[in-house]
């Protein structure tokens, strides 16, 4: 089977659905969403805790509820989607190869493509933890699927390595299901998770967060019987004298999320070294005209509300592209000082209001976020605290961009 479509959206999670709705509302009708799972919603389906939608809907929704609001919008518009469909390849000239049970292997020639594949968790192997490889080591998300989707308990006595949001959420979830969560160890001197999750998922349940600690050895032949943890020095090397054994049957890992960009690479797009996603302009357009990326496949977000916001930008831009509307010819590079680790977008190609998302490299207090056009400071925003776990934004106005003298905007954190 070989078909054509104006817009192919790879992924039917929050990013893909938001982009589809926005593109539809901007006039595109020939859309196809390809979703690998058995229903729309992506990872939100297993995120049954609340806290989603505070920005978008001004209320606290669970993950499935948030996803359902978008699924309803997709269905109301009769936007076509295929479930249980895995995209296997995307070529630079926008031919999408996918597979499912009904259609077999098939291709779609697309005018425009939106990449919305989400992210995956960093696995244990990448951490080089010494010891055995027994059962009982899971990423937090795998445990979340076992508990929330399958209804099974993957552990009773749990140690969590990494204080990413999914790990924090699972600390609470496992506790509520009767497990004993003994500790959350975080290699860094600060948590990578949201402050509200540390409060509501750890502090409220008396679960210790051990900063500057890591797991140095896993014990147990068949199933985990314990882990040895240790404090780390400033260079993140374990301090031998601080080694301590914790008896447990489960080690959950929440040590980072990685944008899932195999398909992006198959389209010959290069990836930003820091974000792990494609490089994009303010429309979330990649280096290939008509190919867009949004949501966690572009950079890992901490709130789904921002994923929706970003994906609507991509959806509207794809509609403009399909309808032959092209942007004006500015070409401004956004550069960072290292304390600001990255920005999305990485460049700006038109004179219009642009919200720039970014993350910082460390926890900084009483600082200013400074944006410069050459020596000219165009934004100078005071902040009490910025942290790697919380995404920051600044908005560049159309006037600021029109009035620029150079072609580079530099982002920095200053005292």
């Amino acid at each position: 089977m070989s078909i054509k479509a104006d817009l192919v959206i790879v992924g039917g999670g929050p990013a893909g659905m938001s982009a589809a709705v926005a593109a539809y509302d901007a006039g595109v009708r020939d859309i196809m969403i390809l979703e690998r799972d058995k229903s729309l919603g992506g990872i939100l389906r297993q995120c049954i805790h609340n806290g989603f939608g505070l920005h978008r809907f001004k209320e606290e929704l669970t993950g499935p509820e948030y996803a359902y609001r978008y699924e309803v919008q997709v269905r109301e518009r009769n936007i076509p989607f295929k479930l249980n469909t895995m995209v296997l390849d995307i070529t630079p000239d926008k031919v999408v190869t996918a597979m499912n049970s009904e259609d077999g292997l098939f291709t779609i020639e697309a005018k425009s493509i939106i990449l919305a594949m989400g992210c995956r968790e960093r696995p244990k192997g990448a951490l080089n933890i010494a010891g055995n490889r027994p059962a009982g080591i899971f990423t937090a998300g795998t445990a979340q699927k076992f508990v929330n989707m399958d209804g099974y308990m993957p552990g009773k006595k749990v140690v969590i390595l990494g204080s990413g949001d999914i790990g924090l959420i699972m600390a609470r979830r496992m506790t509520l299901e009767g497990a004993e969560v003994k500790a959350v160890c975080e290699l860094m001197p600060y948590s990578g998770g949201l402050a509200r999750n540390i409060e509501q998922c750890l502090n409220d349940f008396g679960i210790p967060l051990m900063l500057s600690h890591t797991v140095v050895e896993i014990h147990g032949k068949d199933r985990v019987t314990g882990v040895t943890i240790a404090k780390v020095d400033e260079r993140r090397r374990p301090i031998a004298e601080t080694r301590q054994y914790i008896e447990c049957d489960t080690l959950l890992l929440s040590v980072g999320l990685l944008p899932e960009n195999e398909l992006t690479k198959s389209a010959n797009l290069s990836l930003d070294r820091i974000t792990g996603g494609a490089s994009v302009d303010q429309n979330r357009q990649t280096e290939i005209p008509g190919v867009y990326a949004c949501g966690n496949v572009l950079h890992v977000h901490d709130l789904v509300d921002y994923v929706s916001e970003e994906s609507e930008i991509a959806g509207r831009a794809a509609a403009d592209f399909i309808n032959g509307k092209t942007a004006s010819g500015r070409d401004i590079d956004l550069v960072t000082d290292g304390k600001v680790r990255y920005t999305v977008p990485q460049k700006i190609t038109a004179d219009e209001n642009v919200t720039v998302y970014f993350r910082v490299a460390d926890v900084y207090r009483d600082i200013r976020i400074v944006v410069r056009d050459g020596d000219n400071v165009i934004i100078n925003k005071k902040k009490q605290k910025v942290a790697p776990g919380e995404m920051e934004t600044v908005t560049l106005t159309r006037e600021m961009i029109e009035n620029m003298s150079g072609n580079t905007l530099s982002f920095s954190i200053e005292a």
Partner: protein, 476 residues
């Protein structure tokens, strides 16, 4: 009563079972683990050595050279991936004499296709090597193979031809009664047999002792490895060995048949025959020594690390002997994988000489369908299969692109997978960059369904390796 019982379902036992299953005799393969290929076979360098390492005249040299010659045909028959990628022994200037000595030894061992390279040619054919390396030996017959894939295929082929497999069979005693042997398992099962073949790897000394042979001991030699993401699989084309030392062939850098890059092994003699833990020291050694050979290895692309135990025998050579109906295969460390087909051939000859093997089965089939055939098909061929069985259209493992149909097939094909790791070794589901994060709950579900067992009883690798402790509160 069986004609032949083989103790140990690693690659040596598996190849022997496959070879003997050709004959009109009854063969049973016993293993203490819950799957085949669970010892040294699942964690080694995955190399078909050319045969220049072992001492001239040794059993290691003899079987390695012969096994290496046989390997291409064996893998073809069994549908196992094999890549004749060649190998290089590289050295710094001060190691030149040693590299030349290996070349001479290889010639004496009868290895074909050996050639000394000068510095320029070395760095031209392998541009990512450490630039300080000045000499090398190229072995054109060097190859790579996946050892557990080979073992699983060999056992599967043996079973297709009538051999039996008994798992979780931990041999506790071997007694001789009225001219036959009775092999007892820890759980009370008993197997009666005319001949016993001991291919028990690190336990081959213990099994030998049960038959009254205390002539040798096995000291497990720990070897740790690191595996890098598929994007690094082309970092070197050939298998890169450093000039060897007394403790083994040093840390090698090699692509795998599945397209990853493998680094290792370390070499530490230990007492515990079960201790396959990895160590921080091991990681450090691999980082340092691999970098001696290859420059700028992307160590941040490590997706997993593991450890295997080589069965290092007290004689320094393979220990292969027959006494009173017991064939002992001890000390089958490297080049054991390369030698396995030749060892099987030798055992076949031994048993023929004793008159134990006479007529070949009329319906004997030498070949097995490749485990990975589906992914090699064209779009049209795949669509034909999907039309018949929609499970082949459902991808379960995203990273490796493995379908539900392939996973079900791995559970249903001899020797059927019974646990998560068993499915992983047969299909590669869970072996990709996410290391099973997404697919393992679905694979557990498929095993439960296909084997007709409860979800929570599906294990990672048998015995106590439980994955789930039962239902959540709301689901009880």
């Amino acid at each position: 009563m069986y004609d032949i019982a083989i103790i140990g379902a690693g690659v040596v036992g598996g190849m022997i079972a496959r070879t003997l299953a050709k004959y009109n005799i009854s063969v049973v393969l016993l293993d203490k683990e819950s799957d085949v290929a669970m010892g040294a076979t699942k964690a080694n360098s995955a190399i078909v050595h050319a045969g220049f390492d072992a001492k001239e005249g040794s059993l290691k040299a003899r079987f390695n050279v012969r096994g290496s010659e046989m390997m291409e045909q064996v893998t073809r028959e069994l549908g196992v991936k094999y890549n004749n990628n060649q190998s290089l022994v590289v050295g710094f200037e001060h190691e030149r004499a040693e590299v030349e000595a290996i070349y001479e030894r290889g010639l004496k061992n009868g290895v074909k296709g050996l050639r000394l390279l000068d510095k320029d040619e070395l760095h031209t054919i392998e541009p990512n090597l450490n630039k300080d390396l000045t000499c090398a030996l190229l072995a054109e017959t060097g190859a790579i193979v996946c050892p557990y894939e080979l073992c699983i295929a060999a056992v599967g082929n043996a079973m297709d031809n009538g051999a039996e497999l008994m798992l979780d069979f931990e041999v506790s005693a071997i007694d001789k009664k009225d001219g036959t042997y009775v092999i007892s398992a820890a759980d009370g099962r008993k197997v009666e047999t005319k001949y016993v073949i001991n291919s028990a790897g690190v336990y081959s000394d213990k099994i030998a002792a049960m038959t009254g042979d205390a002539d040798f001991t096995i000291t497990p030699r720990r070897g740790e490895y690191m595996l890098l993401d598929k994007e690094c699989g082309n970092f070197t084309q050939r298998t890169i060995f450093h000039t060897p030392t007394k403790m083994g062939k040093g840390i090698l850098v090699s692509p795998t048949v599945d397209g990853n890059l493998l680094l290792g092994p370390t070499a530490t003699d230990i007492e515990d025959k079960e201790d396959t833990s990895t160590t921080a020291e091991g990681f450090a050694t691999i980082f340092a020594k691999a970098s001696d050979n290859v420059a700028n290895i992307p160590f941040n692309k490590v997706i997993t690390s593991f450890c295997g135990l080589r069965a290092t025998g007290s004689t320094g050579d393979f220990i292969i002997k027959e006494r009173d109906g017991v064939i002992t295969l001890g000390g089958i460390e490297s080049p054991g994988l390369s030698s396995a087909p030749a060892i099987a051939e030798y055992v076949e000859d031994m048993l023929k000489d004793k008159g134990a093997l006479t007529d070949v089965k009329a319906d004997y089939v030498a070949t097995r369908k490749p485990a990975h055939y589906f992914r090699e098909l064209t779009m049209e061929q795949k669509n034909e299969i999907i039309a018949k069985d929609p499970a082949y259209g459902r991808i379960v493992c995203r990273c490796e692109g493995i379908t539900e149909g392939e996973i079900v097939e791995a559970i249903k094909t001899n020797p059927g997978a019974r646990d998560l790791d068993g499915v992983k070794r047969r299909t590669r589901s869970g072996m990709g960059r996410c290391q099973g994060g997404f697919c393992s709950p679905t694979v557990v579900e498929l095993i439960a369904k296909e084997c007709g067992v409860p979800f929570e009883s599906v294990t990672k690798f048998g015995k106590g390796s439980i994955i789930n402790y039962g239902k959540t509160k709301g689901d009880k």
